[in-house]
Amino acid sequence: MQSSPLNFRRVIIWIGRLVLGCIFIYAGYAKIFLPNRNLWPFFILKFSISMNLSNFATQVEAFKLLPAWGVQFVAHALPFTEIILGLLVLIGWRLRIWAPVLTAIMLGFFAVVLRAYLLHMDINCGCFATPQPINLQKVLEDAALSGLALLMTIFAFKEARQPHPWSAPEKA
């Protein structure tokens, strides 16, 4: 019996790749290139990126979770990680490696946003370049995206164990 090429698991994996991949790419792009977008000449571009990463560092620092060196590390590494991870998940290369990494990061975002919400911290989430307050809507958004990431990862592993008949090696 052959299964349909578009079963529930595969639809979730596709939606997860598309939604989370695009969101991660945009989130990384926004942190590096927004709000300051003066791009030319090169020293202006360099200053724009330095300013944007510095603004992001201020937002990371506001969560009061990391020491100064940790804030600087996250502010400078996370945006580039988000872009690379988003691209890898979007194209679907080695999904069983990159989907769990993306899910772990997404769950981390959810945990810190939930903590800030429960502690009534009056801060911006720092998710994208535009100021966004941490409210119930933001917590629910992160919860939904974490759920999607989790499902995508679980289904990616299940699919690997039960490959589609069209792509499975033929039995002798």
Binding site: P35, F43, I44, F47, S50, M51, N52, S54, N55, T58
Partner: protein
């Protein structure tokens, strides 16, 4: 380093005439620092109740004043951009404007930013400033604040900020050799220092 000396206040007091400096219009000389012939003009759109503005003022801008403004390389203009989300920032802006008119802008800006956490809870801008200014100065400032002539000047700064598409504070707008570069956020001094030196070395 106030560019313009204090003026006596009177019943017929009128705001200082706004000037144009190196293509930048509506400059209140009482709220600007440095030499008007400086090669770089920087406008800082700021809100006295914004924590990031406090950080910029207490860290980067102090070094900017010492190393670039007093040496004639940068002409620094303070612009009011009170955000609607901050309950007392407009009141603080009025007091700072009034203080600028009597030559006390530096002390008042410093006091407002350093005591931001105190007055943003109570809204007691007046009391915060009364603790550091003389009774005579406070009387002049209160008269100017009550006079209602400062509000159009604040509105003018806000309108100018909107023209530059300022949507958060602090935003610094750099003018050099006919080019304009707006930047939002708190810039670390080391980064700013490199940027200004590059602007100065541009031909």
């Amino acid at each position: 380093m106030p560019a313009v000396p204090a003026r006596e206040t009177s019943a017929a007091w009128q705001p200082a005439a706004l000037e144009s400096v190196d293509g930048v219009n509506d400059v209140d000389p009482h709220k600007a620092f440095g030499s008007k012939s400086a090669p770089i003009v920087v406008e800082v759109f700021s809100d006295f109740q914004c924590p990031a503005c406090k950080t910029l003022f207490l860290t980067t801008n102090r070094q900017l004043m010492d190393n670039y403004v007093t040496t004639g390389k940068v002409y620094l203009i303070h612009r009011d951009f009170p955000l609607p989300m901050h309950a007392y920032s407009r009141v603080a802006a009025r007091y700072a404007r009034a203080a600028a008119e009597i030559g006390k802008i530096e002390l008042v800006e410093k006091t407002l930013f350093e005591n931001q956490e105190k007055w943003e809870q109570s809204g007691d801008v007046d009391g915060t400033l009364a603790a550091v200014l003389s009774a005579a100065d406070m009387a002049k400032i209160r008269a100017l604040v009550k006079g209602g002539t400062l509000e159009p000047l604040i509105e003018k700064d806000v309108a100018l900020g909107q023209m530059y598409r300022v949507n958060q504070t602090p935003t610094s707008v750099f003018h050099s050799k006919g080019q304009t570069y707006p930047y939002s956020g708190v810039m670390p001094y080391d980064t700013l220092h490199q940027f200004l030196d590059q602007l100065l070395s541009q031909k």
